[in-house]
Amino acid sequence: MALCIQGVAVARGGVPVLSGVSFTVAPGTALILRGPNGAGKTTLLRTIAGLQPPLSGRIDGAEETIAYAGHADGLKAMLSVTENLTFWAQVFGQSDIDAALAAYQLDPLADRLAGTLSAGQKRRLGLARLMVTGRPIWVLDEPTVSLDAQAVAMFAQAVTAHLAAGGMALIATHIDLGLNAETFDITPYRAQPEQRSGASDEAFL
């Protein structure tokens, strides 16, 4: 089932930042979100992941199908790589973590505490988490922060494999990921002051 966004408006801190956003992500495809800093990419992705409600518009196909990865990785410094990954696998009702470890070349680090990893290694572990969720739609917010070129290639390959298996991906990023995917620029959808309807303080205007 496709992910379908129709006329969505989102707000941050009570102020609308985007309005009228519509797009569709079909199975087997990825969509890259672009826009300058502060445009509202993070806000949009959190809305799609169900962490906050949209001001208006419809989001279809996002029920229990989304694996979200934001700026923070949700790793525990005092648990080892395997323990972290196993935990998330169990939360999502999966059990196999070997494929994820292999895809991001984490095997040599499997017994290290996550707190002793470098930033890039941590990020790799955070991305490996996506592969143990078994969810079809990956919603990723700047996934390649602090990754080096080799790790970016690992990531691109993991996404390609996920798409080939019928999955979907929605990725906000500033850099080129080397993925074969459409791009969607959110700059034109910035909420204009006069359009700002539906904000929580609308009643006071």
């Binding site: 923070a72 949700g74 525990k76 935990f87 939360v91």
Partner: protein, 218 residues
């Protein structure tokens, strides 16, 4: 569910995980009481049940700020909220692991501290029973307070302020049962009321906590 519980317990036992700190705080508060009210043993044995209850309550309270805040800071809560596990269940599990790592040790330590406070021999069983019945309510209510203040930096004191009034009914019935028991009366009535409160909060509070947490995560 089991995975979450196991992870929380594992984290509590790892270095810096905070297991035992609540216990240590309980010990210290009970030790400081004689320093502040004086060493007369009859006075101490009169106030012993109350001091044990108050100490347990404060120890619970102080360990609450690591219940959710750490998971919030490293993004685990965001991810849990999008996981198949209902947030209500996740929060119940967190409350359970808080009780296992804080409340249960307090119950077990209470008799030892009771000795130091000259608790009357008849009172031990009542103190233990009331703490065992009451501390789960403290953990569950505390989870609600932690969810309310999770986004606030160093919200510890604010959380204490929000949670302490909610603890009042539990404290009243629990301390009453312990006190009656210690002077040889029958504490069954307050104990039953306490059990009622505990069951009620366990059944209902997780919904409030989850609702509040969804709002803070937004």
């Amino acid at each position: 569910m089991i995975a979450l519980l196991r992870r929380d317990l594992m984290l509590a036992f790892r270095a810096g995980g905070g297991f035992g700190l609540g216990l240590a705080f309980f010990l210290i508060v009970t030790v400081l009481v004689p320093f502040s009210v004086g060493p007369q043993s009859d006075l101490l044995s009169t106030i012993a049940p109350g001091v044990l209850w108050l100490g347990a309550l404060l120890a619970c309270l102080l360990s609450l700020d690591r219940l959710l805040a750490l998971d919030f800071e490293d993004g685990t809560l965001d991810l849990l909220a999008t996981a198949p596990l209902p947030l209500e269940a996740a929060l119940s599990i967190k409350a359970l692991s808080h009780w296992l790592t804080t409340g249960l040790p307090l119950v077990i330590a209470a008799p030892v501290l009771g000795v130091m406070l000259n608790l009357a021999p008849a009172g031990f069983i009542w103190v233990i029973a009331s703490l065992a019945l009451g501390t789960p309510a403290l953990s569950v209510i505390g989870t609600f307070g932690a969810a309310l203040t999770v986004g606030i930096k160093r919200g510890g004191l604010l959380m204490s302020l929000l949670v302490l009034p909610l603890y009042v009914p539990t404290l009243i019935f629990g301390a009453e049962a312990a006190r009656r028991g210690a002077i040889g009366l029958d504490g069954t009535t307050p104990l039953i009321l306490l059990a009622g409160i505990t069951l009620g909060t366990i059944a209902l509070m997780p919904f409030a906590s989850a609702a509040v947490l969804r709002m803070t995560l937004r």
